[in-house]
């Protein structure tokens, strides 16, 4: 029950990230005049890395936080949850590339899309049940909601 393995692994990851981050931070200027925002490119489209990271984090956090909230989710993890999360992440990445928001804007877009993904999940879950009934596929998973 007490399975802390993941956290220790996470701690090891963090220990690896911190020195890299420390060097990255010392090289950045503190003011607008001295700082140069990192621009990433995807298929030739430029976008701010900060907004992208913020959007992806927010989207992931929203999906992770809401999506993992129900134990019903476990059985649909690979068939629905991951694809829907992937879609939400892709759409938020596309929005960041299209609108190039500031970090806060990226955060809000990502969070909004992550929450929207929950609605998509609900629809997909219902559809899956219906499809199971139509095609005679055994669906024993009746959500308790």
């Amino acid at each position: 029950m007490i399975d802390g393995g993941g956290i220790y692994k996470g701690g090891a990851t963090m220990a690896a990230i911190l020195p890299v981050a420390a060097t990255a931070l010392t090289e950045k200027g503190a003011t607008i005049a001295t700082s140069v925002p990192v621009i990433w490119h995807f298929l030739g489209y430029p976008f701010e890395a900060a907004g992208m990271i913020a959007a992806l984090f927010a989207c992931f956090a929203a999906r992770f936080w809401i999506g993992a909230a129900q134990s019903v989710r476990q059985e649909h993890r690979w068939s629905l949850d991951i694809p829907v999360t992937g879609m939400a992440l892709a759409v938020s990445a596309a929005i960041v590339i299209a609108m190039r928001p500031e970090p806060l804007g990226g955060l809000l877009y990502g969070a909004g899309l992550g929450v929207l993904g929950e609605g998509i999940f609900k629809i997909a879950e219902k559809y899956l049940q219906k499809a199971g009934a139509v095609f005679g596929v055994e669906t024993t998973d009746k959500p308790a909601g």
């Binding site: 029950m1 007490i2 399975d3 802390g4 993941g6 956290i7 996470g10 990851t13 963090m14 990230i17 981050a21 420390a22 990255a24 931070l25 010392t26 950045k28 200027g29 503190a30 003011t31 607008i32 005049a33 700082s35 925002p37 990192v38 701010e48 890395a49 900060a50 990271i53 913020a54 992806l56 984090f57 992931f60 956090a61 992770f64 936080w65 993992a68 500031e102 970090p103 806060l104 955060l107």
Partner: protein, 177 residues
């Protein structure tokens, strides 16, 4: 600058730093603050939603001022305080942008407006705690003592993961903007 907002004027006329000037250019401090405030907001919302859902589900069982109700109300009050306080702070930290002084100033003012509510939540939680403490301790000294502490461990684990991810995101955002 024709804006009448003092906060916006302060941002517009202040040093054009990428984070708040009070960070004194220490990027690591920005990272820590950003990550901590973000994750505290997320965890706070998580706890409020969970406890409010529980309270609604068990509203017949845990009546007004029953020990379970008090215990849950304590959690809700503290979580609300943390959420409001850290959420407003996270908004100002994420939204700080000297190129947009009006928005930045507005976020700072919003934080000032919300802080008293956060304090009200926290202090009423403390009052409720102190008020119920003698009776609760009396209750908890009754046999059987042991409680299963690890029933909700998965949720705590989720909080820790969120913390890790928000730290990574904060590092990414601060080091690339």
């Amino acid at each position: 600058m024709s804006n009448t907002s003092f906060a916006a004027q302060a941002v517009a006329n202040g040093p054009r730093t990428i984070a708040q000037p009070s960070f004194e250019g220490m990027g690591w401090l920005v990272v820590i603050n950003l990550a901590v405030m973000t994750v505290a907001t997320l965890i706070g919302v998580m706890v409020v939603v969970k406890l409010a859902g529980d309270a609604w589900k068990h509203r017949r069982l845990d009546v007004w001022l029953s020990p379970a109700w008090i215990y849950r109300a304590l959690g809700i009050l503290f979580a609300c305080g943390i959420t409001i306080r850290c959420g407003a702070e996270a908004l100002t930290l994420w939204g700080y942008d000297p190129r947009d002084p009006v928005m930045t100033g507005m976020f700072a003012t919003i934080k000032r407006l919300f802080d008293p509510f956060a304090v009200a939540c926290g202090v009423s939680g403390l009052m409720l705690y102190i008020c119920s403490e003698p009776g609760m301790i009396e209750q908890q000294r009754k046999e059987p003592f042991p409680i299963d502490m690890w029933l909700a461990w998965p949720m705590v684990r989720r909080m820790l993961w969120l913390g890790l991810f928000s730290l990574i995101a904060a590092i990414g955002v601060v080091s690339t903007r």
